[in-house]
Amino acid sequence: MKLSEAAATARISDLGMDDMPLVEFTPKPATLSPDWFQKYRALCHQFMETLTDCATEIAFMNLSQNEFMGLVTGRALPRNTSIRWRIPITLGGELSVENMFLCRTFPHSHQLDRFIMEQSGNETLWLPNPARAIYIPTHTATGGTGGNATSDRLAQMAAQIAKDNSLG
């Protein structure tokens, strides 16, 4: 059994993410190495350091300067922020930075857990697969002032951090 694409799209829309791209996936048997959690933690930090490419999305997260710096230097996740697997590792997804994306924990990450759990037992699942490494719903990424920091200022800071890293 599986959800039709239309039904999956309707459900994700009900959960407040009508702009979330979905990908159909057939779960595969997965085995995890004993040190998977250590690898996961290291990958989370690596993933955060790649987010300097997403300055526009970060600008709409309404972060303080400290939260921003903690995020793009890989030191600390801002409050209410989650790193999710695009394909969960228990369903055969890879432990890799490319298999990760970032979003708000509440409401989005929690609702995405629900979306996936509701499909449990199906032969194929529809999984969230945002185009960028950070998911910001369209309705919060358009208009407004961009919170505590403007997109331009955060883009400048991100560029400086990227430059500093490359010099290091």
């Binding site: 996740l77 209410n80 708000r104 509440f106």
Partner: protein
């Protein structure tokens, strides 16, 4: 481990806690869970709520009897709202989800036994003898 040891340990790890819940809020949450046919609050959770209405460490959360303010962020839903929303997921039947992190959900059953749940299908992955160990794992799994 007892409640005080748990709270001291988890605060030392950097966890944020909220003020204690009042008896009325705890009783209301418990009766709401009963109405929704979820497992009712075991003693260890009631005791926890009398000390703190919720805990957050990174992406790890212990839900409280009421919605919790979260600074400029979206509020943290109450245990009753969380469980009302997931009643349609068969694997969670007769359990009450009390916490989450980015890898797992955590629940107790009608006997107060705690479980780690797979966050893709709700199936139990681990059963705990010590509920404070479950609370600890839920929060520490969110600390990266």
């Amino acid at each position: 481990m007892d409640i005080n040891e748990f709270l001291t340990t988890i605060k030392d790890k950097g966890a944020l806690t909220w003020g204690p819940s009042n008896t009325r809020a705890i009783e209301h949450a418990n009766s709401t869970l009963q109405t929704k046919k979820c497992a009712m609050l075991p003693n260890f959770i009631i005791e926890l709520y009398t000390k703190t209405a919720g805990i957050n460490l990174g992406s790890g959360y212990i839900f409280g009897p009421t919605e919790l303010p979260n600074g400029k962020n979206f509020p943290i839903p109450s245990i009753t709202k969380i469980n009302d929303e997931i009643r349609n997921i068969p694997a969670l039947k007769n359990k009450t989800v009390f916490g989450r992190n980015d890898l797992f959900w955590f629940a107790f059953d009608a006997f107060g036994i705690c479980y780690t749940l797979n966050n893709t299908n709700g199936m139990a992955l681990r059963k705990y003898d010590d509920p404070y160990r479950a609370l600890y794992d839920c929060l520490m799994g969110g600390k990266i």
